[in-house]
């Protein structure tokens, strides 16, 4: 769990992505490649660690170069989706929300407080042509409720 006082810390995101694995890729419009044979949570955790860097710094250099397979693909998709200069917000439940610099794209992980549902889940929100679109992702190994 990521304590609320750790605002700016990436721990909520890392903990969150441990749960999502390849469903994170699918939610961003990509599908895991054939090489994705390892546990989904492991790939997710590595993506989470690297995306923490985006939230803090927005380095302008793809972090995917340090990874391979579906992990690298997930990073690229997330980097493309959020863009440079994304910020990390931690809500009062300690859950992480990544927001693009212009505020039109968000990745949100409801792990500590999945209310009104039972299972952790994520939201991908995007403002497209002046209208908000949204989708929700569940980890592969939890009931979708």
């Amino acid at each position: 769990m990521c304590p609320p006082e750790k605002t700016g810390n990436r721990c909520g995101f890392v903990e969150g992505l441990k749960l999502f694995g390849s469903n994170f890729l699918a939610g961003l419009g990509a599908m895991p490649g054939d090489e994705d044979t390892g546990p989904g949570w492991l790939a997710g955790a590595r993506v989470g660690v690297l995306l923490g860097g985006i939230g803090r710094a927005g380095r302008g250099v793809s972090l995917a170069a340090r990874e391979s397979g579906s992990t690298a693909r997930a990073i690229r998709f997330a980097e493309d989706f959020l863009g440079e200069g994304a910020s990390l917000k931690i809500n009062d439940a300690g859950d992480a929300v990544f927001v693009s610099r212009d505020g039109t794209r968000r990745l949100r992980f409801d792990i500590n407080r999945p209310y009104p549902h039972q299972s952790p889940h994520a939201h991908i929100d995007e403002l497209v042509d002046g209208k908000w679109t949204t989708k929700r992702i569940y980890p592969t190994d939890v009931p979708h409720r």
């Binding site: 549902h117 908000w132 949204t134």
Partner: protein, 79 residues
């Protein structure tokens, strides 16, 4: 309609929302996504700091299986 004050874990009957225009537009879009089935069960609308938030859920009393126990109790008993 059911309203839960999440912080106090307390059901309530009346609530007034003061929204900026952009927050209202986002709520409209999220409600439309719920009604159109683009996303199921719930959406969130937050302020820019993510300090205040409204969660909107659509429910059908004949099938509450998608909700957690607190939400089920709120819907079934109003409390």
């Amino acid at each position: 309609m059911r309203i839960l004050d999440e912080k106090r874990d307390h059901a309530t009957e009346r609530v007034t929302l003061f929204l900026t225009r952009s927050e209202a537009a986002e709520m409209r879009d999220m409600l439309e996504a719920l009604l159109n089935g683009e996303v199921d069960q719930h959406v969130h609308v937050s302020d820019v700091a993510f300090e205040r938030e409204v969660t909107i859920a659509i429910y059908d009393e004949s099938d509450l299986s998608f909700f957690d126990e607190r939400a089920k109790k709120l819907i079934q008993t109003g409390q």
